[in-house]
Amino acid sequence: MKGVVNKGIQELVESKFDSEKWEKIKSLAGCNEPFFSISEDYPDKMTLDLASSASGVLGIPIDILLVEFGKFWIMNTGKTSYPMFFKLAGSSPREFLLNMNRVHKQVTKSIPNATPPVFIFEELPDGRLLMHYKSERGLCSALFGLILGVGMYFNQELKLIETSCMKKGDTKCTMEITFP
């Protein structure tokens, strides 16, 4: 997982809570990194441990926390870290989301054996967009928040329903997005 994700968690905790909490979360997760470099690859476990210990320390259910993380990441960490990319990634939420596979591929190019997420898009005739996602990491709640975050980035309110979820035993997670 790229450092920019972990950095997002850190920034979320530090800005919404405080750095003391963050230090606590980090130590609970057994993480010794003083800070995260956005381009470095960190073990996936670290990200998952950070997320779950943040949930514990902050007393927020993990899924709600991940949704918040997603929204925060787009509007803060991602936007700040990849300003040019955010501009190029699309001129609308739909275009932005549709470009995600390319974007991820591009930004993980330098990391050997990277496993960027792969989305399968299904554009429905009525304009809705289905985003299928097979997450081995179980971070679909984060995706939920990220998609909402994209809407916020373009100052649009998206209607989003998670129609299936691997955590509920489905074969994949599916986000049904309705654009305004």
């Binding site: 470099s37 956005i38 381009s39 990849y82 040019m84 591009q106």
Partner: protein, 817 residues
Amino acid sequence: MYDGNNIPINSSELKYEINLNQLSRLAPFILAVDEGLVVTWASKSIVSKVAGAIGTVISEFVEMKGIEEKLSLSLIESNVEKDLKVILKSGNDRYSLFGYLINITGGFLLLASPDVKTAQDLEKFSIEDFSENNLTMDLLVAQDEFRSSFNDAKLAMEKLREINLVMGTSKQELEEEIRLRKLAEEKQIETARGLFWRSEELKASNEEFRAHADLLMKRKKELERVTNEALAANEELQREIVNRRIAEESALKAKEQVEEANRQITIAVTRANELAITAEQANKAKSDFLACMSHEIRTPLNGVIGMTSLLLDTELSTEQREFVDMIRLSGDALLSVISDILDFSKIEAGKIDFENIYFELQTTVQEASSILVQKITDKKIELISFIDQNIPLVLRGDPSRLRQILLNLMNNSVKFTDHGEIVVKAMLDSETDKNATIRFSVSDTGIGIPKDRIGLLFEAFTQVDASTTRKYGGTGLGLTIAKQLCEMMGGKISVESEVGKGSTFTFTVVLEKESEIKQRVRVIPASIQNKHVLVVDDNDTNCAILTAYLDQWGCRNLAVSSAEDGLSQMRRAVDKNDPFDLALVDMMMPDFNGADFGVAVKADDKISATHLIMLTSTAQRGDVKTLTSIGFAGYLTKPLNPSVLFDSMATILGEPVADFKIEEGLVTRFTLAEDTFRAKKTHGNVRILLAEDNLVNQKVATKILEKLGYQVDAVNNGKESVDALRINNYDIVLMDCEMPVMDGFQATIAIREMEGVNKHTTVVALTAHAMSNARELCINAGMDDFITKPLDPKALVELLDKWLEKEDKIYSTSLAG
């Protein structure tokens, strides 16, 4: 698929399309144009920007500088036209592209990619407009990540720099960081500048860029590590620094305060030292001045007083005598002022010395009273003294200082009392094995002291009010001296007073007791014990004191306040078969005085056997004769010396005391003025050598001595005195201390050397100094005694008696008062 100049194109449209789609992954902008220059196919990137591209003549929305002509003529010279600058027009938007133009069957293909030179250029395109392997994208990622990492690194560096500042890391290290940072910045600028260059250049640049990014990354990692360590160290250090800063600040403040205080102290000490030196010099100057003044003033004063005394003994008219008396009084007053000032100065300078000799307290009190009695004869005042018989007879201390205190207080009383009485009492206050504390009181019935002035009384140069000095004279030092003297003798002084009623000064002194062996025990003879004694005195205090003495001696007694009462009591006593053995009669009584009483007693056979002793405070010429003729057995002056009274009574009542004289049949202790200078015996065989440089004083002393019946040889300096002793024998030498040629001390030393051990001529120093060390100086020089100038005839007589009649012991100590 696209391989050099040869592009195999399938006739099948589908395949054609697929191939072009595949091709568009490499070059997203693709246009297929037929021979008529009409666009037959356009890639998604073009269609998304120019919606109606397909079916439109290419020149409608594409500009290709320099080859439009060729296009229209299908005259592309080679199969491939490289490095084309292509502008895609869509409305007002312009998209810069660069690409290749390839000849194909029935037309040509335009393959292009975005030509991005600025960020603005970039913003026009979408990510889809770039091929997946487009370096621009790679660079874009790298750029974003670099920027972000750079920011992180910058933050880390800033933290590090802060830490460096705190930890005092060397400047060079910091400069190295800055240099690297600058390098990075320059690289970044450089990289950014060449960011969107053509692919080969971009590639090279990218490599370099990445290499630099790697370097930075390493650097960053290093920074992270250092930062991490530093942060931990820093945390501790920060706490330490805060603590130290607080400590340093307070220490600094304290140090400043201490320094300031030290500075002040140094200034003060310097100043104090200067002052001390000045004070020392001033003090020395003062002492010298005092010594000088003492000599210079007393010497001429000696002349004035001495000559006046001599003058009074000559034939003078009443007026002349009055004037001379005035001179004498003025001289005495001046002398007492000078003495007061000298005493005060000595006390102030801490130079006063106390003698520690055996003496009899009652003698001292008596002496003081005697001196005073002459002053009160012209006032109607009774001077009464009482000495507690429990006080040890012999004590050890400085009698002259004690007398000085008493005289000071008594003089004051006399000064401020016009009628009534002055009572001097000495009581035993407390006693230990070694010491006796004596409480003296001097009470008068004078004008008294206002309450608000009492506190100021003992302060120097203070009198009850300023007008006091004018009316009563005095320096205002008397009480201050008295206070300090009695404090030096271990006591205290206090005063109680009521305006119009009088004052009582009380003081205590601590005196050493004589050892048992030397302490004489007063033996009361049988002749006195149990005798019946009448006291006739109109003064209640006198009665009380006399009866107190009589009680102590075991006499039955009765006191009455008038002559009439006295007579009737005497007659009644005879009736009771217990007649009075003795009557003590006061001279001064209203209506019926002591003499009249005596006449009445002696005229009445019934009571005439009773012995009479007259007590008077106003002795007059001829008294002795008158009283003897009346039939008085004794005549004593007040204030009474209890010893004298005791001895007189013992003598009269049948047990004569050794050495007590009965003069002309009347027991008396003569203190009449007329007898003062009278020679008690002929001293014609006594030779006195007087060494005195001041001719006036020489004359005064000579006259006094001659009047006393002595033979006097006078010399002018010490050397002459030594010479005179070489030739003649003298019984006593009176030696002035300060003389030219050879002073008195040197002369005495010379005399003692000359005499050796076989002979010892008495040498008495005449000193005008009255300074504390005079006695010591005299003794050290080998002198036997000293007497202060101006010469007091009485003191001189006593001194001469002491040294000349030493062996004869004519006066017993108990009668010396």
